[in-house]
Symmetry: C2
Subunit: 296 residues, 2 copies
Amino acid sequence: MSLFHGLSAFPITPADEHGIVNTDDVMMLAEHLSAHNVDSIGLLGSTGVYAYLTRTERKRAVRAAIQAVGGKTPLIVGIGSLRTDDAQNLARDAAAEGADGLLLAPVSYAPLTQEEAFQHYKAVAEVTDLPLCIYNNPSTTHFTFSQELLGRLADLPTVQAVKMPPPKEGDVAAELKQMRQSPVGKIAIGYSGDWIAAEALFARCDGWFSVLGGFLPKIARALVDAVAVEDPTTVEQHQQNLLPLWELFREFGSLRVAYAAANHLKLSNALPPRPILPLAECDQNRVVAALALLDQ
Amino acid sequence: MSLFHGLSAFPITPADEHGIVNTDDVMMLAEHLSAHNVDSIGLLGSTGVYAYLTRTERKRAVRAAIQAVGGKTPLIVGIGSLRTDDAQNLARDAAAEGADGLLLAPVSYAPLTQEEAFQHYKAVAEVTDLPLCIYNNPSTTHFTFSQELLGRLADLPTVQAVKMPPPKEGDVAAELKQMRQSPVGKIAIGYSGDWIAAEALFARCDGWFSVLGGFLPKIARALVDAVAVEDPTTVEQHQQNLLPLWELFREFGSLRVAYAAANHLKLSNALPPRPILPLAECDQNRVVAALALLDQ
């Protein structure tokens, strides 16, 4: 199975209040995910708060994860940054530490044109041989990829996948079918937004970029495997049990819920970077109740 | 006149391709704006690409501007940053260098809640005594302030102003009237979005946060003065001449146009930070043509 296929688990990156990464906990988290047979680990994704960590700390996180699971579970590393030269340096760092692939979001402050995003991807993709996944995440980047831009990016030699957000309108199957028939069809197409994961997997997407997989890899694995053996009854059962968690993801953003869940499951003891606040205690209790429905 | 009143000119921050600030050009720009009697200089605003510069370079820019115009023209410094602790450090740096005021935008990657934004402002405002202006700029931050949040922020001891974007719907006068009557009414209310400046000035807003003022302070000053002496004919004449420039601002974003204009006017010789690309030559020619209509 190629790098951007199957279950990619996106954990939080435990760090202290100054943004210093807790490498012991990064290693423990990576080992936990690897032990539950995720197909890859998505380190320093949005849930991994890459945007809030310095280059030095991002490098330390990558090194720790490689030390823990290098050679066992492939590591995809988020290298998004506002500046093109910074993203290039993050790509070089990830490659030097032994990462298996890269994930790049079009982070912006001044809204980017389609051409600016293309040149950004091109410049970053060129500095390493590592396979790269386009990180399409409009809820954080506020950038909208045109189909034409995705097609142009799919032609870059190292671009091998795109991570799509839940469709704004219509269903995943229709979107996926349309994309497969377009120039984007030559690369792997995966989905994020855990609440549409079952739908996307049944529609035969290539990968699931999963926040759930970052703290409950066992359930995420079971969901993927049930789809693979075409067992809709089991999938439906998981979905029913997961509904309260999906509701929390949508209400608070999966990032805040992931911190509460990982801490409750004793996978970490970390707070999100300020200004992001931890969930209020009453909402943390809702997370605990949602987790109690699930086989941990 | 208090710090956040009148014409605040927001220049670009000339820097090389690695993000190293050209302090000679910062000084020249600051002197140019000061010589044309702007009421304040807004250093490291959105046009000043603060989001793309390191703490070290932002500090160098502030030091250069203070060296050039300190004691002559008040300096307002943009201190926005994704992390609360980073924004606090930028506030401390600006204060240590001798800035007169601060400008803080709720920069985000993970979308912020109203409470998170409030706590962010509170934590940053507390580290210095400098007057602070709330930077409401949804086109870059994608954060929407509720009226309730603005009211809470107006109660913080050092918060003295808000920089509002062009209203999405309705006119400036109606919005301003409503805000004056709300708890936000106790602080100064200024506007950005140069194409609505005349409308906002006639509606008696307190300040104009001007991109135009950052490269053509003479025209911006003349516009403000014509409103002050209630000379609508002169204002209308300026507006007519400025129309092509306003169109370019709206088409390309004022940031890209400001670089082309400042370079053409020999106030700088700098490119925006990649991934932001300079305007294509044909569009730069449109900027030159728009400038030719104006008294430089």
